[in-house]
């Protein structure tokens, strides 16, 4: 019997092999990101302010039982009927019975992820009631017997020709592969269904407890028809959509629209408080609100997953997720796709359906783009932990989770270890025995450690401040020269620098689902750092992932004052020295050139600074810098790209390919990137030399 993991691997292999399909998905996601970016700029929306405002509205309040009850009471007061559905089956049963009582044979629906979650159409069809989706994307996937591939763009994976073929089949006539021609057929196909349906089912984007009001946002206007033409209007909504008052509605309308599609508001925002009469008649017109729990109360009570309830369903996390962009939501999803789909699926549909969690490569971009700043990376790590506890850890993941010890051993035995990892026979053995892909160039190790290099080095005056330098594995075992250069520059700028005995950052524990060990490492490092921070030290790291762990992950792994204090004074290297560059006399180009340097922004640096300070550093040294980017990850994601096969190197290179093409088009010959692993990926994919920006200036 094929296991869920084997199926996932097979599905990923097929997705990678189908380049036209993944190009379509990748292109759609890139356009969605660029629409969002343009919208934010056009409407003058500051992302961090929006995140803070959205969290004020949602966090800590979602699914509060008293709030849900207040909403239900307001709906009842307005004459609506409320049904609290504990499970999806309960919700389906209620609507099926209602359909029977009201003589309903046809239901028209507007888009609702909640009804997808409970497989509403399927169950109602079993009960002999026809359900027709009226959102064009949902209709397309319904006619094609598929699930939506994306929360906002359900048919993003299909071409115009595919869609023309689907409608040709349904309407039994040849429809040309032209969007306008397709649209011409859709309107007359759906109109009679709207006019004859006895029941209309909508979801809800917002429920306002204060007045018992439902708000539905669409661009097509189908919800207006679904909620007015049929005599019976049923709203099926997740209880997480309820907010307290009208004071917060404007904020959510803006956040939904700009995050999903880059609009300031959707074309139609429909606001229902009752099912009003039609042409003066209220005969047979009923209004029902089904409030679905289906695991949400459990999530609400679980501190590990309750943040997922704050999701606005904008789909932005899908738009930026690099592996989702290649494989799409049919592979990277169950009924809820994408990064946020992982904790939702695990909580609502069970762990066995959430194996796609292993497609997350921990780039952290989902959290960065999320309008509610939901900590998806940590929740996903927890789902992985549960899945690993149930099904066991992959050998290769276990190997990379010992990277610190392995790096120590390789450093101690260098140059022998370096000779070994360059030998094709040893790489073959490493691939077969452990699962490290032999096509990946591995970094070499230095016998000399960073500490060895620092003994006897000149101390800084400390006039600018005191810093702890956090080398992580790379600047300690692989490239201590990098750490040395960083410290020398800091000291020359007037900082005194200490390098205490810290462990590595522990990111692979997050990537491969060992949250307990990640917490252990974080606790150790925080314990070491606390006295320094208390006595006025800042913390700085040349590796973006190390800085990201200190500022973004440790506070959630080890909640409390210490982690907050450390996060507050931690930064990536160039962010720390950005203010010192103007007066610095000793930053000069190591090899002056008129040709622009290609610059790659690592994902974890994107979340922290967007690469801006490193670019400023290179420009201060006299270089012209050209940012080359797809807007998402390079695909390497730490050690993920070193793993053998579809769930490693192949997927990593499929993501990387899009970036490699841009580097080729850019005609740049040298690449700067702050991340050691991103540099490896770019060099492997393009043949270009990629280095840390500190190697672009003369050593001090």
């Amino acid at each position: 019997m094929t296991t869920a993991r084997e199926k996932l691997k097979k599905d990923v292999e097929l997705a990678i092999a189908n380049r036209p399909a993944s190009d379509k998905m990748w292109g759609s996601m890139a356009r969605s990101r660029s629409n969002r970016k343009a919208g934010l700029a056009e409407f003058g929306i500051e992302v961090e302010e929006m995140k803070a405002a959205d969290r004020r509205v949602k966090a800590g309040k979602t699914c509060d039982p008293a709030l849900v009850e207040r909403f239900a009471e307001s709906v009842r007061k307005n004459g609506g009927q409320v049904y609290m559905a504990e499970t999806g089956e309960d919700a389906v049963r209620y609507v099926a019975e209602l359909a029977k009582r009201t003589g309903t044979e046809l239901i028209v629906k507007s888009k609702s992820l909640t009804t997808e979650e409970i497989e509403f159409n399927h169950h109602l069809s079993d009960a002999g009631i026809k359900c027709v989706e009226t959102d064009l994307g949902e209709l397309i996937v319904q006619l094609n017997h598929e699930k939506p591939v994306h929360l906002v763009a359900p048919a993003a994976h299909l071409s115009t020709a595919d869609i023309a073929e689907i409608f040709s089949r349904e309407l039994n006539k040849k429809i040309p592969a032209d969007p306008e021609a397709i649209l011409k057929e859709v309107r007359p196909y759906l109109r009679p269904l709207f006019l004859t349906a006895q029941m209309g089912v909508t979801g809800a984007n917002i429920g306002v407890a204060e007045t018992g009001t439902i708000i539905v946002e669409t661009n097509e206007g189908n919800a207006r028809l679904v909620a007015s033409l049929p005599k019976v209007h049923v709203v099926i909504m997740g209880m997480e959509k309820i907010i307290e008052s009208w004071d917060d509605v404007g904020q959510l309308l803006e956040a939904h629209a700009v995050s999903a599609t880059g609009q300031s508001q959707t074309v139609y925002v429909s606001i229902f408080t009752q099912h009003v009469p039609l042409a003066g008649s209220s005969e047979g017109r009923e209004f029902h609100v089904v409030i679905l729990d289906n695991g949400r109360s459990k999530m609400h009570d679980d501190p590990s997953f309750n943040d997922a309830l704050n999701c606005l369903r904008c789909g932005a996390c899908m738009n930026i997720c690099p592996t989702y962009g290649i494989v799409g939501g049919h592979v990277f999803g169950y009924l809820y796709p994408g990064p946020i789909g992982i904790p939702w699926t695990a909580s609502v549909h069970g762990l066995d359906n959430a194996t796609f969690a292993h497609l997350c490569i921990s780039c952290g971009l989902c959290r960065d783009i999320c309008p509610v700043d939901i900590d998806m990376p940590l929740m996903i790590a927890k789902v992985k932990s549960q899945e690993v506890a149930k099904n066991g850890q992959l050998r290769v993941n276990g190997f990379f989770m010992r990277s610190d010890r392995l790096a120590g051993l390789a450093s101690a035995t260098a140059p022998l270890s370096n000779w070994m990892i360059r030998r094709s026979l040893s790489r073959y053995i490493l691939e077969k025995a452990v699962g490290v892909d032999r096509r990946r160039t591995l970094p070499s190790f230095s016998h000399r450690r960073l500490k060895d290099m620092l003994s006897g080095a000149a101390q800084g005056t400390g006039e600018k401040g005191k810093l702890v330098y956090f080398p992580d594995i790379y600047a300690d075992y692989n490239d201590p020269e990098l750490g040395y250069r960083a410290i020398a520059l800091l000291r020359s700028l007037g900082y005194s620098v200490e390098v205490p005995d810290l462990k590595w950052s522990g990111m692979p524990y997050i990537s491969y689902g060992d949250v307990a060990k990640a917490t252990e490492v974080a606790e150790f490092n925080l314990k070491v750092l606390e006295p320094f921070v208390t006595s006025g030290y800042g913390v700085v790291a040349t590796e973006p992932t190390a800085a990201y762990m200190l500022t973004e992950m440790y506070p959630n792994l080890v909640p409390g004052e210490t982690s907050k204090k450390v996060a507050a004074v931690s930064s990536s290297f160039f962010a720390r020295i950005q203010g010192d560059l103007a007066g610095a006399k000793n930053i000069t180009a190591a090899f002056p050139t008129e040709e622009p340097i290609g610059f790659h922004i690592p994902c974890h640096e994107r979340a922290l600074t967007g690469g801006v300070p490193a670019i400023a550093f290179l420009e201060r040294a006299g270089f012209k810098v050209k940012v080359v980017e797809t807007g998402t990850c390079c695909g390497m994601a730490g050690t993920f790209g070193m793993k053998q096969g579809a769930l490693g190197y192949d997927l990593s290179m499929a993501v990387g390919d899009r970036l490699f093409e841009l580097f080729e088009e850019s005609k740049t010959k040298l690449v700067a990137s702050e991340s050691s692993v991103c540099s490896m990926q770019i060099t492997d994919g393009t043949g270009l030399r990629a280095m840390h920006p500190l190697y672009f200036v003369k050593p001090l």
């Binding site: 379509k24 759609s28 356009r31 969605s32 307005n78 009226t134 064009l136 994307g137 397309i140 763009a153 359900p154 048919a155 071409s159 115009t160 869609i163 969007p179 306008e180 397709i182 649209l183 859709v186 309107r187 759906l190 109109r191 709207f194 006019l195 204060e210 007045t211 009001t213 661009n219 097509e220 206007g221 189908n222 207006r224 028809l225 909620a227 007015s228 033409l229 009208w246 004071d247 509605v249 404007g250 309308l253 599609t261 609009q263 300031s264 508001q265 959707t266 074309v267 139609y268 925002v269 429909s270 606001i271 229902f272 408080t273 009752q274 009003v276 009469p277 039609l278 042409a279 003066g280």
Partner: protein, 197 residues
Amino acid sequence: MQEFTDQIPVLGSPDAFFAALRNLHTTPHSVGDAKTTVDIIKSILTEADAKSVVAGGLPTPAKMLVEAALKGTKHAFAEDLKPSEAAGVISKADVGISWARYGAARQGALLEVAYDDAVKLVSSLPRVSVFLLSSRNLCPDMSAAVKLTAGIIRSAADVKPVISFISGPSKTADIELRLLYGVHGPHELHVLLLDWI
């Protein structure tokens, strides 16, 4: 029946409103007097080759003008339709003429308040939708319009109206993210900003 003008503390800029409407694939018309209102409606009907028109939710002065503009064209008012025929008649109309209670200048949004779904269908079913809006009801932005919406719902007595923000014609991007108009509702939207009412 709703009031047709309100005391809005700060009015929105008509220029900003028109710019936003154009961005939203909507045709704005600035209207200084009653006669021009009739002329513009007539020209929209001619351009749309309208054989049948519906209107609904209009305050009395606007309704009288619309009636004048519709002389000689098959038309109906939503308020006069029987329950059994309303949806069919509105669905067959080529043009729907509606009243926007408010506008949000910065975002180009219209706020429609319907105490009867037939009124809502007038702006939902025909291929061309025309909204009349008093310039005295133009709010600066959505935030102000949402506050007014909350006020309407909070203070509504027995019938709580259905309220819609409308920002352009019906559109979809579900076919390869290409923007297409008129999938279900109007594919063309006109806004007449009335200075005289």
